[in-house]
Symmetry: C2
Subunit: 352 residues, 2 copies
């Protein structure tokens, strides 16, 4: 069954609009009191509109437990900014060329300024989290910082696992290795933390903050949905329409990124193909032969590696839907609860 496109699109649009308005306000203030050119650079990625998946999850989780949007919008903006900070540093680490259809920030400003813009984006997000004191009270504001700390810790550990694979030139990776890395690098900050922070923000004012135990079931849901999301993201990179997707086509192969599909190919292809692929993957991005990159993509396709990825993503998606059914936290019926279910299907169906 395809996802309910209308509810997903409506809630993504709403979240994007709320968050961009908030970012506009805080940047205006920072430009006024601080060093303005830094905040112009900082605005570049957020205003190249992304999907807004993270803020939408956060807002919907908040309302699905009975909260209002104004309890969540500051946290949603902070999470979106942390995401953008992560993208800036990730684009340097991966040597990427395009982001959201345009040249990456390190290509535009140079690596030094881009590192600093990433750092500044994190600082801006922390500033927003401090504004939560007035909105949520001291305890829930602190609990939100705690969630963000966990999210960021998982992300840097996931990033470190991936960078170690690159440093050690490892391609002998199982689907399990991949899931462990992506759980940390992607699931926490794309799904788990937005849901947990949304529930925190939406819990009735004056009551105690939800405990770690209360929030525990969201880890499994976010893991399953997040892995499905990441595999789908990687499939789009290999096989999607670059005009819609906003990154260079097959960019992951140029970067030698360990995706489920590439891992499958390297584990199961013939020794001759393995040697040929390895020679390509071990070559610096700028020296790679385009014909060899095309060969590898075609060989992966013929070998069933893309199909393997699609199958795996669908499996994770189905398990995520099951996990979602078992969660009792989202008690308020309405579009938000529907969105939280539909977004799992959306992950598989999306073309953008």
């Amino acid at each position: 069954v395809a996802h309910d496109g209308a509810v997903v699109a409506a809630l993504l649009d709403e979240a994007r609009a709320l968050v961009l308005a908030q970012i506009r306000t805080v940047l205006k203030e920072r430009r006024r009191t601080g060093f303005a050119p830094l905040y112009d650079q900082l605005a570049v990625y957020p205003f190249r509109e992304g999907k807004g998946l993270r803020p939408a999850l956060l807002l919907s989780a908040c309302r699905a437990v009975g909260g209002r949007a104004d309890q969540a919008v500051v946290s949603a903006t902070a999470v979106e900014l942390f995401h953008n900070a992560f993208l800036v540093h990730d684009d340097i680490e991966d040597g990427s060329e395009l982001r959201r259809g345009q040249v990456t920030l390190p290509e535009e400003l140079g690596v030094p300024a881009a590192i600093n813009v990433g750092d500044a984006t994190n600082v801006l997000a922390i500033g927003l989290l401090l504004d939560n004191v007035e909105i949520l009270g001291v305890r829930k504001a602190l609990a939100t910082v705690r969630e963000v700390e966990r999210m960021a810790r998982e992300s840097v550990e996931g990033q470190a696992i991936e960078l170690e694979w690159i440093r050690q030139r490892r391609y002998d990776l199982s689907d399990h290795d991949y899931a462990r890395m992506a759980y940390k690098k992607t699931c926490w900050y794309t799904v788990i933390a937005p849901l947990r922070i949304g529930v925190l923000a939406g819990s009735p004012p004056g009551t105690r903050a939800p405990t770690d135990d209360d929030l525990q079931p969201l880890i499994r849901l976010g893991f399953l949905a997040g892995i499905a999301f990441q595999i789908q993201d990687d499939l789009l990179n290999l096989d999607g329409d670059p005009g819609l997707y906003g990154k260079e086509a097959g960019g992951d192969l140029w970067e030698g990124k360990r995706t489920v599909m590439l891992n499958h190919f390297m584990r199961t292809c013939s020794p001759a193909d393995h040697d040929r692929a390895l020679a390509l993957l071990d070559t610096d991005r700028r020296r790679k032969n385009p014909a060899e990159v095309s060969w590898l993509l075609q060989a992966m396709r013929e070998h069933g590696s893309l199909e393997h990825g699609r199958r795996l993503a669908t499996e994770y998606c189905e398990r995520a839907l099951e996990a979602h059914r078992e969660i009792s936290l989202f008690s308020v019926d309405g579009p938000d609860r529907r969105f939280l279910r539909e977004m799992v299907r959306y992950v598989i169906d999306r073309v953008k």
Copy 2:
């Protein structure tokens, strides 16, 4: 008058030992529960012992307002870690080769892993700040996060100002331009924030956290002492004993760093010398002619630019001592209060 070396050395040693023990404990825990290789990389800079100036200031400020070391040690460790995170990213941004007498982390691990280690170091520091809830209570723990946010914001803005000068190839900079940049980039995280956070941590338990107004006089003291510190640091880079100082000799000239001394030279030298210096400074670090670097250092010396820096640092130092005398916050007599005065003189006298 020379500084009281014994009290300065004793308090720096004590702070270093307390902070390193704390870092050892938290890294052990992170290695056990997280991705261990990341925490091995993260340990590299902190265990190349620095001066420990920031934690020492924080601890002494805490005790000089009547607090105990155990109220401050977690914050002091966090501040030291933020400092180390900043150094990792700064070494990438500046293309530095040596840090604390050994090869820099980006040279050792490559830029991608080094960016991530810097990010992970920030996350570790934020984790420590959350431990403050148990030590200082919710309100003072949050107030400390607020101080750190301000510190980090000033630092990235200062860094952005400096990077803009580089991008625009500007060398027409006054002492005032320099002071504004260094106030943000250096003074906040080297002096102002450690003092303010120390006072917060040391304020009597159960009482309200000191307000922004209470902490205001520390901004002026930290500005004056911090500028003196930074000029002295830059003088040591140009003119110090590389064995003691731990960075490559004259490294700032290779990097084209806008110091008070270089700015003075560029403002006041002959047009011919200006052209010759500009040709050198606009050349990529790796293509610079060593003979020209030596010429520039010698020309700056003969032109009185190093002397200008020394004079300016001494002026800032004297104004800092004056500002210190006017501060009534540090009411507890003893070695900590003495340290907070002596450290201003130490800044000028230090050889390491």
